[in-house]
Amino acid sequence: MMPEVPASVSLVWLVVLLPLLGFLANGTLSFARPTATRAVSAVGAGVLVAAFVVAVAVAVGVARGAPEEPYVVTYWSWMPAGELSVDLAFQVDQLSTVMLLVVTGVGALIHLFSIGYMGADPGYARYFSYLNLFVFFMLLLVLGASFPVMFVGWEGVGLCSYLLIGFWFEDKVNADAGKKAFIMNRIGDAGFLVAMFLIFQATGSLSFQEVFRQAPATFEVGGTTITLITLALFLGCTGKSAQIPLYTWLPDAMAGPTPVSALIHAATMVTAGVYLVARTNVLFALAPVSSLVVAAVGAVTALFAATIALKQWDIKRILAYSTVSQLGYMFLGVGVGAWTSGIFHLATHAFFKALLFLGSGSVIHALHHAYHATHRHEDAQDVRNMGGLQRHMPWTAALMWVATLAIAGVPPFSGFFSKDEILSRAFTRGHEAPVFYVLWAIGVAAAVLTAFYMTRMMLYTFHGPNRTGDKEREHLHEAPWIMTGPLVVLGVGAVAGGVLNLPHILPAAGWLDMWLEPVTETGALFLPELHLEAGTEWRLLLGATVVAALGIGTAWRLLDPAALRPAAEAPAELGFARVLARKYYVDEIYDALIVRPFVWLSDRVLWKAADAFVIDGVGVNGAAQVARFAGWVGTRLQTGHVGTYVGLFVLGTLALLRVLTR
């Protein structure tokens, strides 16, 4: 039975309500007093800090209660229709608690950073209202106790992403990027919807607990229905979490303000797909084929995106492809049934990637100011215009190096443990089917590239000579404390996040494994018992270290920041480098194969040929012409004496009636 909800856990409504109130307040301010920046900052960041405090109280409640079944808090009946009953209800368990803390914690830091980063923007109040609204929807997504409530959050965060990518809407590029993100996400969402239809058809319910309770008895392992359900759900994940084939919106999404990239497009929203798979682990465990698809798409995306990152020059785009790649690791994890590892990497990635994005924000901020001061119009995001910045921004440089070591997988930084855990779990399943060895190998290859492209980015940004410009150099300076402060906190997480789930050969190991066990245990029943020998585990850890060292070392040896030219003077890329720089031309291919044919079909065929010419022209007006020639009816009606005609008609029918009923 459902456990009774402790008082501190029942406060969860407050966590959700606070950002909503922030949205309403800042939304009102953006119309009434857009210049009241102090009030906007206080409300915008204040509600997040408060929400984090309440979230900690909720987490303490969950830790004390240690429930075997989730706490479910029901507020009102949302969509009751026959046997379908969807309540507005929140589900608080160990998994949603982790997400709750990540979203409000990292969210609060990014809100604080935004005060410095966005302070001078005329749309400041609007910015914070969107950001607060995003957190509200993200919390709905994480806390929803049913598929439809989760879907409200799922599409809601997509909306906020759309609004924030296109925040500076006067540039067509930004507005285009926002629209692209929304539509690509909707393709995935259609999959989510179809999954819900299938689930309702099979179980008569859409609430998580009911569906998961019924699932083992309702679905046979590997059956068609469960495979279709999970594949449809995963289509939703590829949209939201930017996996092949629906990943191309995420790099474009960098058009939004940088804190948005950190919060939405790195730490939280894009991880929603990973959360969804972990949440529905029972369903995926029953569908081995789908799980393999998840793992394979994850691994391939991890490698594919990493290759593109090798040749990007825009600092945010490097990080964007890196995010796509890291999300691929998370899917590899949840795909091989290592749901905890996926969530573990989600949490550590939230720290180091948010740190990297915010750090890049500080860098862009500095360059932007420098160019602004000298009235030059150069790209403030191109690493070719940077170089040697560690002399001007030592804090940012040091903290970003911490995050780089974490993402590259250098021990004992957080990313080392979480990435290694995913890879070793994939490796372990190689005993069962060799394909998992292949996935593991792809993951290792991507790890080398990760270490390489991150080192490249850091080298070009912070080391060697400065290429910003002689006059501009004087204006480069470290960001204010409101921006570096949050970076320090994230840095602590990036360093020490690994303790959440240390490998089993170390002391105090597997804390997150134990914490999430009530959530993953049912799914785990359907997986083979996995055992990794201590010797193998040591070898894998050692191997991972070598891989990271290899990537960093190669980049350090091969790349010479001194040889780099500023973006305006840089030579064009040639050969395969050009293919990478142009992102394998995937955007162009999608445009030619999907977008333009659809527009052409709609415009030329459906509208102008079918609708205007055939149906309306030949059909309707043609018939009207015939009628006109036929005479009486046509001419009478078209002279406009409609009233007369109706009168005659009614009289006539009455007479007819009289005859008929006699």
Binding site: W76, M79, A81, E170, F197, F219, T224, W607
Partner: protein, 517 residues
Amino acid sequence: MAALLTGIGYERWVLDALLVLPLVGAVIVMLRPAAEAKRLALWVAVVEFVVSAGLWWTFEATAAMQFTVARPWIPAWGITYRLGVDGISLFLVLLTTLTMPLAVLGSWTYITERERPYYALMLVLTTGMLGVFVALDLFVFYVFWEIMLVPMYFIIGVWGGARRLYAAIKFFLYTFLGSLLMFVAILIIYVLVGRATGQYSFAYEHLLGNIAVAQPWAFWLFGAFALAFAIKVPMFPFHTWLPDAHVEAPTAGSVILAGILLKMGTYGFLRFAVPFFPDVALHPGVQATVVTLAVVGIVYGALVAMVQPDFKKLIAYSSVSHLGFVMLGIWALTLQSVQGAIVIMLNHGISTGALFFLAGMLYERRHSRDIAAFGGLAKVTPAFAAVLTIVSLSSIGLPGTNGFVGEFLVLVGSFGTYPWATVIATTGVIFAAAYLLWAIQRILFQKLDKKENEGLPDLSARELLVLGPMLACIVWVGVYPAPILRRIEPAAQALIMQVERSADPATTVARGTPDVD
């Protein structure tokens, strides 16, 4: 509240009052000076809404017809002035009475000539539309059906745009042709039932109860009804009158046309065509045709909407898409899908109505409906931008808004009956996002690059007053639709039982059930 209303006999007089009040109002408007016309009309429409609002509290969530009125009209022919409301019509009545004051307020500055007849016709139209939704005598129903055509014809033809006559005549002829056939069908049913039972009556219950005697003719009778309603919906390929009528109609005309008139088609299916002829409706060939046309309408409407350069045309084609969902939901005939269909009928009135208001507000400012004439308006008219964005999101069915509730219920309910059609219909949500987001991008975002747009005034207090209630409905129906669904459910349940009881079991077996797994 309910007790108070019952105390003043509300249930007995409310429907009479709702039908008479606008007519009286129309006479007063015609008699008073033109300068007072809009103010008077607004008062009448507001009072009408207040009177109707009591329905919300006094309506009991049962399948029974409520607030019934029955008075002999032409006893010799068995014509009775018979009215009533159930869960299917309740929200259409409320939607009508809510829309009308907003439509009057929305015409405030748009209509500058011949104000008296305009507002008088609006009020007559109110009576006509309400009559269609509450009539429980098929003759009375038909009379209201035709009554409502006439004011609409004049509203388009007199106060419309450049090609108003073409559009008005097309609208009138098209609808009229359909309704002629329907009238013949009504007469045939009347005669057949009359002959068999010895009691000639147009009463809905009487005809429905004895419809079995019309079986030999069922296919043709259904066809006549279906054609009349399909034109009104409008279903693909009978939809081409709609873009023309919408584009040429004055703002309030478009709002009413989309918001209320289209619902008469789907209402007709729910009230007459399907329950009268369940065998035909569930005949595999008919099912296949209707469901195919519904799904084609969903996708086709959305795709054609995407490439429209004219904002009003875009909204018109989007209606074809939305109403396709309603048809799918009706034919799937599950509790979720039928309730969802009724909710979409309500939602479409709110969201599309609001979109037409917004298009009209643009037109009043710039005298253009061309999407390309705008761009960057969010800069000069932020409130307008915010409202247009919210309404668009509602129209594309963002969860948390009203649009989602209806679409989701239709799709989740239809999936069991027509899995493939439902999956194709689901792609409609992608195309919907494409056409509306693309449109609002070109109107609201990008550079403010046209001089004429630079000084555009933002929404006035009056315009906010028009849009405010619609925004409130968008959020309310999206977040807490349960009280609405509870009022609809018994009627939807009764409809499904009625159809399944009388349908031939052999054909119902043929209805697809998903055979995955």
